[in-house]
């Protein structure tokens, strides 16, 4: 199994899917000749031709709308929104159309498509290259929301998303495109190569949508995380010697509630972690579900570790980012209570 970083893995997933299904088409801003600003679609135009991989106008609304029309025709569009922060001009088409067409046509039309977008902070991107808008999509019935945290999962989940009959919002944690991140921005950058999850099966394979991964077993605390924060959380529990079970959700909708319940029932404590602002972040839903379903197992309130309820301030990136110190405080709190 070749070692890949996340970009290579995503690129490979596109190729596998495009080779298998001539109806898969890939487009978005700068994705054609150039291969995307993060190079995820590099070489696709060369291999599959301009009719299947091409640049689009700078119009996120138009990109999504075109994908709707293509999906209505019978194609499987995979579109890139250059940064998740720029998805809002396409929000109406996603919420009012992509998410609702199967429902409002009672299944006569469906909207198989993947809307890929790099998201999250930690890359000096400031307000408009760092956002984590996942909860704006988890609230919308009809959408699936997937966030990988390793090259292995990125490939397997993307292929699964492309093959899925429903529309999938696929957020890619851009901070860990090139290597995992423990939250210590002042330590040397690690490449994926040394991480076991950089070993990515060749050819076709899928990681099922709707299944979380227990990435660390533990007995005294359950940590729910996704994307970059999986790695930050893992590093923190190691550092503080907490015997935590760390669950990488991988899919936010539909959520793998079974894995979560099983774990919290065992540990009696739960920490929920994400980069997005706290108020109405996806963490709120996780906390609600855990307290609704595991209340009598809980020994302490579920604690949220999140970004602040402010826009993302670039010069204060590391005061904003929920890094090791915020993790530490939260771990102490959730274990002390």
């Amino acid at each position: 199994m070749p070692a890949m970083n996340m970009i290579q893995a995503l690129n490979d997933a596109h190729r596998v899917a495009m080779r298998a299904d001539p109806d898969v088409v890939v487009f978005g801003e700068d994705v054609g000749f150039f291969g995307g600003v993060f190079r995820v679609t590099e070489g696709l135009q060369k291999e599959f031709g301009k009719q299947r991989s091409f640049d689009s106008p700078i119009s996120e609304g138009g990109i999504v709308a075109a994908a709707v029309g293509m999906a209505a025709y019978g194609l499987k569009p995979v579109i890139e929104i250059q940064f998740a922060d720029y998805i809002y001009p396409g929000y109406d088409q996603i919420v009012s159309e992509v998410a609702k067409i199967r429902y409002r046509t009672a299944g006569e039309w469906s909207m198989p498509m993947v809307i890929r977008s790099p998201y999250g902070g930690g890359i000096f991107g400031g307000q408009t290259h760092s956002q984590s808008p996942e909860s704006l999509f988890t609230h919308i019935a009809g959408l699936k929301v997937v966030i990988p945290s390793t090259p292995h999962d990125a490939k397997g989940l993307l292929i699964a998303a492309i093959e899925d009959p429903d529309p999938v919002i696929f957020f890619e944690p851009k901070r860990i495109y090139n290597g995992p991140f423990d939250g210590y921005h002042d330590r040397p950058v690690k490449p994926w190569a040394k991480h076991p999850a950089s070993e990515v099966p060749t050819g076709h394979f899928t990681v099922p949508i709707g299944k979380a991964a227990v990435v660390r077993e533990g007995a005294e605390l359950t940590v729910l995380a996704y994307g970059t924060m999986v790695h930050v959380a893992l590093a923190a529990v190691e550092e503080h010697g907490v015997d935590a079970e760390v669950i990488d959700l991988r899919t936010l909708v539909p959520l793998d509630i079974e894995t979560i319940e099983k774990s919290v029932e065992k540990t009696g404590r739960c920490l929920v972690v994400h980069e997005a602002p706290k108020t109405s972040g996806f963490g709120a839903e996780l906390v609600s579900l855990v307290q609704e379903r595991c209340f009598y197992h809980l020994e302490a309130p579920v604690v949220r570790v999140t970004g602040w309820d402010t826009p993302y301030p670039p010069a204060y990136e590391w005061a904003y980012f929920p890094g090791p110190k915020r993790m530490k405080t939260a771990l102490e709190k959730v274990m002390a209570d």
């Binding site: 138009g62 209505a72 194609l75 409002r104 009809g142 009959p165």
Partner: protein, 421 residues
């Protein structure tokens, strides 16, 4: 006004905001004599392969075929045979009778809502005649004529309006928000404008696949102001998409006249110029002109020559919907004063002028269609009307959110069934 912005310079002209106002308001006597109506037959008809630059004048002109003498005239005459014209006439009459019955059904409390296409029936009905049967439409809510012209069963339409047991959309859409793939009719969205760039996406897909089918996008004059209009035009131009983009300019958007969408300064067809695609302005109440323009645009698209924007100029003769009373914002007599007339009357007169029709036959089809619509209604109402719905099959509301019902919806389904008990 706050401090820093308050220093006006007295030696400079004082600006003021222009707010467009329709020529007539309730109480006024509508007078359309200032309206420029070019003579029928006067607009040139370029070859479908003409460049966009060569057809610029058609964006401000008005393609008309039916003259005041009820005869077809000029290069746009599509030379349709009488059977085709009679079919179009019949379909228009069907739309009007259908609309009247369903409007009444709403007033009788059998459904919650209805929208008529009165005065603009020619457009959708005739477009269907000009298109190939497998071309795909992305309609808005006044294109019921497409379905009727393509033979979609009236009972099916009514079952949707009643959200009853026969409603294939399972009560999930407001009345009249039809969807039927087999009749090339994409699901109507309540969100204005969204369908317009979707049509272009479908057309792009057709081109990607080396297909020969074209897509037709439909939008109202008011909705052209949405960003989606621009997306559609941009993508259509950039990728030379085989699409026909239709603006139905019926001059009103609920209570706002078309000036609020920009019509004081330019025609909607002119928008095309800025994207380098042809724009045609067409008399939407003239069946022959409607047909000829749609055919020209569809032929062009099918020949891989790209998209066309057609503005069908018409007039919304009745209220916006059953929720609207237009006498609050325009003179009651405005519809009658509209100089481009009634599309049904105009086609009828043409067929009579051709010796292919007469009043008797006309009354006969009205009676026949009326009976047919009533029969369909009876049939539909056997399966229930809206106020009775929503009690059975409650579990169905959890279907089709996704291809499969996920755990959280399954739980909610259980809960809802408990509630229903």
């Amino acid at each position: 006004m706050r401090g820093e912005d308050s220093q006006k310079q007295p030696n400079r002209p004082q600006l003021s905001l222009h707010v467009p106002e329709p020529p007539f308001r309730p109480g006024d006597t509508p007078d359309f004599s200032r309206l420029q109506i070019p003579a029928a037959g006067s607009a040139p008809r370029p070859d479908v392969a003409a460049s966009a630059a060569d057809v610029i004048s058609l964006a401000t002109d008005l393609v008309r075929v039916l003259g005041d003498d009820d005869r077809a005239v000029g290069p746009w005459d599509p030379k349709l045979d009488a059977d085709t014209l009679r079919k179009i006439l019949r379909d228009m009459v069907t739309v009007r009778i259908f609309d009247d019955r369903m409007y009444r059904a709403q007033r009788q409390g059998k459904t919650s809502f209805y929208m008529k296409a009165t005065g603009e029936e020619a457009i959708a009905v005739t477009a269907a005649a000009a298109l190939d049967r497998d071309d795909m439409n992305f309609p808005t809510y006044r294109q019921q004529g497409l379905l009727i012209a393509r033979g979609y069963p009236l009972t099916e339409m009514m079952c949707q309006i009643y959200s009853n047991a026969g409603d294939k959309l399972k009560g999930r859409q407001l009345p009249i928000m039809y969807s039927d793939k087999a009749h090339g009719f994409f699901t109507i969205s309540g969100n204005l404008g969204t369908q317009f760039p979707q049509a272009v996406g479908w057309a792009m897909a057709s081109a990607i696949k080396g297909d020969s089918r074209v897509a037709v996008g439909w939008i109202g004059d008011g909705a052209t102001a949405e960003g989606d209009f621009h997306s559609a035009m941009t993508f259509a131009a950039v990728y030379n998409a085989p699409a026909v983009l239709v603006v139905v300019n019926n001059q009103w958007a609920i209570s706002s006249f078309s000036g609020i969408a920009g019509a004081e300064r330019a025609t909607f067809a002119q928008r095309a110029i800025g994207y380098g695609i042809p724009g045609l302005r067409v008399d939407g109440n003239d069946v022959l002109a409607v047909y000829a323009a749609m055919r020209w645009a569809a032929d062009r698209a099918r020949s891989n020559l790209g998209a066309t924007l057609i503005e069908y100029f018409t007039y919304r003769a009745e209220g916006h919907s059953t929720s609207d009373d237009p006498s609050g914002y325009r003179p009651a007599g405005e519809a009658k004063a509209w100089p481009l007339g009634d599309p049904i009357e105009r086609l009828k007169a043409h067929l009579i002028a051709l010796g292919e029709w007469d009043d008797e036959r006309h009354q006969a089809i009205i009676a026949e269609i009326d009976a047919q619509v009533r029969a369909a209604q009876k049939q539909a109402e056997k399966q229930g009307v809206l106020p009775e719905q929503g009690k059975d099959n409650i579990e169905s509301i959890f279907d089709d959110v996704y291809a499969e019902v996920p755990w959280h919806l399954a739980e909610q389904r259980e809960q809802s069934l408990d509630e229903a008990r």
